[in-house]
C-alpha cells in the first residue's frame, strides 16, 4: 500500500512517465504458500482442493445460490493466474526501493482504529453480511462497542485474516469463508457477528434480516401443497426450490 502511495505521489508531483499500463510490484516474490508462511511466521499446512472441480461446482451452484455463496467461480479463477508485476521502465523510476513484505510480528494491525476507520469497516461489513447501509445510530453503537470491548487478533493467522478482509470485497469474502470453514473464532468472524447483532437489534435493518428470499418461499408453498393434496403451487420460477417442488409434484403424479 505504502509503495503504491509513493508511486502515485511521484506521478502527482510530475514524474515523467510515458503512456501504457504500469504494473507496480514489491521487493519480493512469493507463491501463496510462502506468503502465508511469512506472514504467519511459522510453517503452514495446506489442504489442497482440486481447482477444476471446485470451480465447476461453484459455477453450477452460482445460478440458484448466488446470494448465499461466499465466493464465485470467477473469483476463484484469479488464483490460477499469478499476480506478478510485468517489468516496465517507469516502475523502477517511480519505485526505486520497494519495501519488503511485512513479517508476522508486524502483521498485527495498529491497535485502536480511529472512529472513521471503524465506521468504514462497519459499513463494509454491513453491506457484505446483510446488504444494508448502516444508520448513524448503528455506527455510533459500533464505535461504542469498540470503546468498551476489544476485538484484537489472537495470533498471526488471525491478524492475516483481518488484513486480508480489509483488502476489499474479495478479501472480505475470502477471510469470511476461511473463518467459517476452518477458524470460527477469528476476529473477522467476530466483527461480522457484531455487525449482524447491531443490524438485527435496530431499525430499519432488522426487517431485511428477518425476511426469507423470494425463491426459497416456494418451498413453503410446496409444504403447503402437501396439505393441499400434493399439488405444487410453484408453477413459475427457475429457482432451485421451485424446480424441486415441481419435480416432486411430477414424481408424485
Amino acid at each position: 500500500m505504502d509503495d503504491v502511495a509513493d508511486a502515485l505521489a511521484a506521478i502527482a508531483q510530475g514524474a515523467a512517465i510515458e503512456g501504457g499500463l504500469i504494473e507496480l510490484g514489491g521487493a519480493d516474490r512469493y507463491d501463496l504458500r510462502a506468503l502465508y508462511a511469512r506472514l504467519r511466521g511459522a510453517p503452514v499446512r495446506f489442504a489442497h482442493l482440486p481447482l477444476t472441480l471446485t470451480r465447476h461446482a461453484l459455477a453450477l451452484a452460482e445460478k440458484p445460490l448466488l446470494p448465499l455463496l461466499p465466493l464465485t467461480a470467477g473469483q476463484l479463477s484469479t488464483f490460477v493466474n499469478d499476480g506478478l508485476a510485468d517489468p516496465h521502465p517507469a516502475a523502477a523510476a517511480l519505485l526505486p526501493s520497494p519495501r519488503p513484505a511485512p513479517r508476522a510480528n508486524r502483521a498485527s494491525p495498529p491497535s485502536g482504529p480511529s472512529g472513521e476507520a471503524l465506521d468504514k469497516e462497519f459499513t463494509r461489513h454491513a453491506r457484505y453480511v446483510a446488504g444494508v447501509e448502516p444508520t448513524a445510530y448503528q455506527k455510533a453503537k459500533n464505535r461504542d462497542f469498540h470503546a468498551k470491548r476489544t476485538l484484537e487478533p489472537a495470533n498471526a493467522l488471525d491478524a492475516l485474516l483481518l488484513k486480508v478482509s480489509r483488502l476489499g470485497g474479495l478479501g472480505l469474502a475470502l477471510a469470511d469463508s476461511y473463518s467459517g470453514l476452518l477458524y470460527r473464532r477469528s476476529v473477522v468472524r467476530a466483527k461480522l457477528v457484531l455487525a449482524l447483532a447491531l443490524l438485527e437489534s435496530s431499525a430499519p435493518s432488522f426487517a431485511v434480516l428477518d425476511a426469507p428470499d423470494k425463491g426459497a418461499a416456494r418451498v413453503f408453498q410446496h409444504g403447503a401443497a402437501r396439505r393441499d393434496g400434493g399439488r405444487c403451487h410453484a408453477d413459475r420460477g427457475a429457482g432451485v426450490f421451485a424446480r424441486a417442488c415441481r419435480a416432486r409434484a411430477h414424481w408424485q403424479a
Binding site: V129, K148, R189, V193, F220
Partner: protein, 538 residues
Amino acid sequence: MSDRIVIIGAGATAVHFAATALLLGRKVLMLDVGRPAPAPALPGASLNGLKTDLDDPVRYFLGEDYGSLILPTDTSEYYGFPPSKNYVFKPLDDYAVKAKGFEPLMSFAAGGLAQAWTAGAYPFNEGELEAFPFGWAEMAPAYGEVARRIGVSGVTDDDLSQFYPAHDGLLPPIQLDAHSQFLLDDYASRREKISGKHGLYLGRSRSASLSRDHAGRKACSLSGRCLWGCPSQSIYTPSVTLQECLSHENFEYRPGVRIAHFTSDASGRVTHVAGSLIESGEEISVAVGELVLAAGALSSTRIFLESLLRAGVRHEAGGLMDNRQVLMPFVNFKRLGAAFDDRSYQYHQIAIGAPGAHPFDYVHGLVTTLTTAMAHPVAQSLPVGMRAAMGLFRNIHGALGLANINFADTRREENRIALEIGADGRSKAMLINYTPDTNEPARVKPMIKRFRGFLAALGCVAPPNMTRMRPMGASVHYAGTVPMQTEGGDFTTSSDGRCRPFKNLIFADGSTFSSLPAKNLTFTLMANSTRIARAALG
C-alpha cells in the same frame, strides 16, 4: 411475635407458601435478598416495535456493555440471557460456591429464578409421585389452587393428556405459532403410524401463561416479547403473587436481607434467623414463630448446613437431583423458506412425551420454534462464512425448532451439598458434588435416537453434531437434599415439610422432593408448598 411465620425467599415456593398462610389467617414476614426487576420498556410495543421505537434498542437487546452479545470467541450456550433479565441472575458478593460435576445457577431476585422461566407447568401423575409420601389425591387440590391463582393454559384431550393429569383451573390453550401448528397438523394426519413406530407422542404443552384475562392480568397479546420479559404479566412470574401478598395487611416483605443461618434452643425450637443487610453489611437477627426455608433448594440447604455447623453439627446433605437435559436443534424441511410471524407466543407450545416401562421413566420433550430468537448466535454456529450463514438463516428461520429433552433423576446419597470449613472452623464455601448414575448413557443415548427418528418422521432433521447434552445443573430443577419421608431420620422432612428433629422448621422448596420426574418441576414446587402450608399450618 411468636406466632409469626418467617419465610426466607420470595421465589415460586416462598410466595405460594405465603399466599396460602395469609389465606389461613396467619401473619407472615418474608425476608429476601430481593433484587428488584426493572420496569418493562414500552409496555404496549411489540418486539419489532421496540426495535423501531426505543431510543437505544441495541442497549435493550444486547446490554449496556454488550453482555448479551454472543461472539464466536465466547464459550457460552447458544443464547445469552437478555439484559432485561440480568437482575435475575446477578450473583451475590462473597457467596462462594465450589461445584464438581454440576453447574449451579442461583437467583437473588424478588421472585427468584422463575422471573426468567419459560412457564412450562406440568402436574406429576400418580406414578411420578410414587417415591413421595403422598399421592395424586393429596396433590390434586393443591395443583387446582395454584392453577386458579396463576392461570395455567392447556388441553386435556390430546395424545399427551394420558401423561398430564387434569386439574382444576385449566384455561384454554394459547394461539399456536405457525410452525407449532404445522407440526401438530402434520402429526395429526399420520399420528398412529408415527407414534406406533417410535413410541413417542406429540401434543400441546401446559403453560402458566394466560389465554384470556385472569385475576387482573391481561391475556397474551402475542407481542413476541416472551424471551425479553412479558410486559403485560400474561406469563406468570412469582412477582405477581408477591404483589398480591403485599396488598394483605398481615404480610410484611423485607428485601435487601441475606439470611445466613438460624439458631435454635435446647428443645429444638428455632428462635431466630440471622443474616446481614445487603447494602450496609449490618448484622441482623429476627425472632421467628415458624421458620419456612424457601430460598431455593441450594440456598435453603446452605442456610440449613450453616445453622447445624454453628450448633456444632457437621452434616452433608445427600440426594441432590437435577434433570439431565439434551438440546436437539432441528430444521423442518417442509418449512424451508417459510416466512414467520414475530407476533406469536415464543416459549414451547408443543411437547413430546416418551413413556418408559414405568411412569417414572417418562421422558419429557419441550419443543420451541425459535421465532424471535436472535439470528447472530445461531448463524455463527453454522460451519460457513457469516454471509452464507445469514443467507441460510433467513431462509431456514421459519423452519427452525429446538427440542429440549428432560430426563428424570433419583436421589443418590453421593450427590451432596456440604460446606468447606476453614481453619477457624467457619464455613468458606458451599461445596456441590454431582456424579451421574452409571446407567445414564444407556438411558439417554437410545432416547436421543428415538427423538431424532420421531422428528425425522415429521420431516425435521436434527443434525447429530448440534445435539448437545447440557451439564448437570443447567436445567435449574434442583431438589432432594432434605427429602420428605414417612419414617425418615434427622434432617429429613415429614410429608408436611416439617424438618426432623426441629419443632418449627419447615422446608417448602425443592429440597423436600423425594424423587425428580422428568417434567419441569416448578408447578409441583408451587403446589407442594401450598399443600405443605395447609398441612403444617391448617
